[in-house]
Subunit: 257 residues, 2 copies
């Protein structure tokens, strides 16, 4: 028989997971720089594990988009071009804005409290060194927002961009010094807007959170927000009940507490 999958906290420990975290951290903190080549043998020596483990960790990193691998040409840390960064922001904004709109009604007090906790945690990050932690908190924050849509698929799709978001952070730190206060401000503003009774305000906030340009003409953004606004209600009507049903019977979804 299968044991209930809700109580497996013992944290199944594999070396791969350790190595993965180690490398992720090194990349996000800038110890390993974008474009740099990762060599299996060297890392396996340095970390005291076999090459097999490092190899699998590479595959995990690649799935997250933090490295790219060409079959016999080595593995390199992802470097995002400006176009890719813009593109990424737009796509992610599209998904997340959509999610927030669908799940707007499900953002209750408890959720807000969790979001506020995230922001507080962000404020405690020291910027040059603790970027990995900052990225994790950032992901957690937005995860809560996206999860409100109660669409596993949408969440998975959004999650697949997480690693790239890390790459985006690196890019930001490479080009210009960012202040932790600024990051906190951004998220506080976002949270405030999302909590607004008017869904449209939340949408716009999500969008501007990702797609910010110095002298942008806001007409483009407005068009997108309008679009999502049109999508979401019908989406909710079609799937709201089923989604809720799925969510309730699932059980293994974490963070239910």
């Amino acid at each position: 028989m299968e044991d209930a999958p809700k109580l497996r906290l013992p944290t199944r420990l594999r070396l791969v997971d350790d190595v993965y975290q180690s490398l992720e951290s090194a990349i996000l903190s800038g110890q390993i720089k974008p474009g740099e080549r990762l060599i299996e043998a060297r890392l396996s020596l340095e970390l005291g594990v076999s090459r097999t483990v490092v190899r699998e960790a590479f595959l995990m990193l690649e799935r997250q988009g933090l490295v790219v691998n060409n079959p016999r040409g080595g593995t390199f840390v992802t470097r995002l071009s400006q176009q890719e960064a813009y593109d990424l922001g737009y796509v992610r904004a599209l998904l997340e804005s959509f999610a927030v709109t669908v799940g707007h009604d499900r953002i209750d007090e408890q959720t807000v409290r969790r979001l506020k906790n995230c922001i507080a945690d962000m404020g405690r990050c020291q910027l040059p060194l603790e970027v990995p932690r900052l990225v994790h908190i950032d992901v957690a924050f937005h995860h809560i927002l996206v999860d409100s849509a109660r669409s596993a698929r949408l969440l998975a799709l959004w999650s697949s961009l997480n690693g790239q978001i890390g790459a985006l952070y690196i890019r930001g730190l490479e080009s210009q010094q960012a202040h932790i206060g600024h990051v906190v401000e951004l998220h506080e503003a976002l949270l405030k807007s999302v909590c607004s009774l008017d869904v449209a305000i939340g949408q716009r906030a999500v969008f501007e959170h990702y797609v910010r340009r110095p002298q942008a003409d806001r007409s483009a953004d407005a068009a997108i927000l309008l679009a999502i606004n049109a999508i979401a209600p019908s989406y909710a009507d079609e799937f709201g009940d089923r989604m809720r049903a799925v969510h309730n019977t699932k059980g293994d979804a974490d963070a239910s507490k």
Copy 2:
């Protein structure tokens, strides 16, 4: 500087790629059924390769969403619930419909010819056995459509759902017998609509292609299409030029230095 990309037949061949294709084919054709457990040792014996190779192939399959793996609990073929299937269709429709709208102007005669070729190839598939080929052609067909948006990120995101689409095909074949003629019809209608001068017609077609329900109220779909219609032009305005530039200068695409 640029080598003509027409003469690259050598096709980097790794065992992993072979094994991956082999397993993918077996899963899509139904030789290995949804929910079934895949055992490394057995497959490595059966295929005449080492377990390491099978293991890596599993990771590739997992990334495509064709299998799920719990750390020390084995690897199983993905089985989609009805809710997941609906959800998947909606999300994919959202992305693809958006892409088609953005790239509508770039669908020229040559593109249409390629699409028609795909449909012709579909017609030559024998259904119970050649599902893997059918799925590949189907993916190729829609890939052409999505690629017209010239957004690498959007394409990547869309691609990440390909494996699941395969799973969807399996589901369809499990529950009800589908006729190849039906599939061809669907795509012919889709192509015709996409070629229409009116973008809206193409959008609607893409949507109905994925999200088809017996007695659906079309108002929901209409709202979504309207939304995408609002998104796309601004997106194109913002990114059209840059995208084109990226696409032209890309060429190498990898950081081989």
